[in-house]
Symmetry: C2
């Protein structure tokens, strides 16, 4: 199978891609990585201009020889490419898997809203740079190559439709034309590098949305690298998530096994096809 690497957010280094390529070759002989040269472009914060990032994504998504698009890494910027991507996706884009997380959630959410392909939350090639990151990268490859159930977040066993997002990304997607309807879904949220007051504020925003109030329930993934709040926020991430769920009438389902780390599990959007 052919997996295309594209970078709708920030660029990845050739060195990181070579490590991922070697890992894939060693473990999944059936996988061919097709690395779009756009992954290595640089335009300030981004992996090339908005147009370059959109064009690469559309080229790979519309190529019938490609089975999946794998987001090289997150950072910021896939939202800037939405309007250059979504209207141009053709029939070949519909049969594909799209895998990433963090900032990629903008694109995954928009694809899910449009009913195009199978968006999947999971580790990206850029995770190879974490200590022990090979495990994360292999987890996504195992899902892409052979739908390995060991890659999945364990609570997906209950067969309800699910979706997973970075909390801040979902907050910034809600209300836009690209927001998916998550009614009836188990919603998993994770965060990194945000103060407790910001986690609290984003949870207020997300759980106050009328559409989000129709989810089947909320699970909180890991919120890592939380800077010290001054003064002490007293409540922690799990406590405020539970509190906002109670206020919003959203069933609180506990913690989820996702986050910005090497243990980040795979969460296909919608019902898991097995």
């Amino acid at each position: 199978m052919r997996i295309a690497l594209v970078a709708p957010s920030c660029r990845i280094t050739p060195e990181a891609v070579e490590r991922v390529r070697a890992l894939a070759a060693a473990h999944f002989a059936e996988v061919e990585l097709v690395v779009h040269p756009q992954c290595f472009l640089s335009d300030g914060h981004f992996a090339g201009s908005d147009a370059a990032r959109a064009d690469a994504f559309v080229e790979m998504a519309n190529d019938s020889r490609i089975d999946a698009l794998w987001f090289a890494r997150g950072g910021y910027g896939s939202n800037r490419a939405l309007e250059g991507v979504l209207p141009r996706l053709g029939p070949a884009a519909k049969g594909k898997t799209y895998l990433g997380y963090s900032d990629a959630g903008f694109m995954l959410g928009a694809l899910y809203a449009a009913g195009i392909g199978q968006p999947v939350h999971g580790p990206m090639p850029g995770d190879i740079n974490r200590v022990g990151g090979e495990a994360a990268v292999l987890r996504s490859l195992a899902w892409l190559a052979k739908r390995d159930p060991a890659s999945l977040e364990t609570s997906l066993r209950d067969r309800r439709p699910a979706a997973a997002f970075n909390l801040t990304i979902l907050s910034h997607l809600l209300g836009t034309p690209w927001a998916p309807d998550l009614s009836g879904h188990v919603l998993m949220l994770e965060e990194i590098g945000e103060y407790m007051y910001r986690i609290d504020r984003a949870l207020f925003h997300v759980t106050s949305d009328p559409m989000i109030r129709r989810v089947a329930g909320l699970k909180l993934g890991r919120c890592s690298d939380i800077p010290e709040n001054d003064p002490d926020f007293i409540r922690n991430d799990v406590q405020v998530a539970e509190e906002w769920c109670a206020r919003a009438g959203i069933p609180w389902l506990g913690v989820a096994d996702i986050g910005h780390d090497i243990d980040n599990k795979v969460v296909p959007f919608g019902k898991v096809a097995r």
Copy 2:
């Protein structure tokens, strides 16, 4: 006239309040400051519990002897008090002016959405702690005490309805039950302490909202204390605001004279009554 000080977000120090009281006494003999003791409470991040902050706000808003509520300072937390405040406001709350900015935008926006009183963006007592902050505090007092037109943001002369928000606060208010309809308004946004990629992301979110796309136009106030973006974002705050307006079909109206500083001007929500 009686101006009540309440603190729906973070606490203020008694020393700051005494400085504001002395300033008011020296310049506005007609003003009596009624300082609710809740302003000095402390509960972790907040000026007392959510209930204490809501109760103090409701008590002052429903007191017919009070003419205006002045938010002591911003920080974070007025969103947590919304559901404890809005449903409990009675007839006496409707004739009042409510003045603040930054985090207070949650409450100002919700009051405007509910058609309760006159929400006003402008300097708060806590601004006394800025170098030269007396000018900011006096500007709000002049508006509260005698509707001094010199306090107003100058573009309000064009007589269109207006509203002013901190960008991040508006982003987190949109889509919630407390978001006001700003169709036809000149919308002014300011920001402080956010990276350029975050300013860009919040502007994407705000300008992608269908309701916001019906504003009369957008003006950008000062975005101050922007941390250095790595890599360089290339575009600045005004450039990205203009770009998102163009993408969204929102008339770009240039810069506004508001921000987290001593020059922050007064912006009454809606049409200015003179």
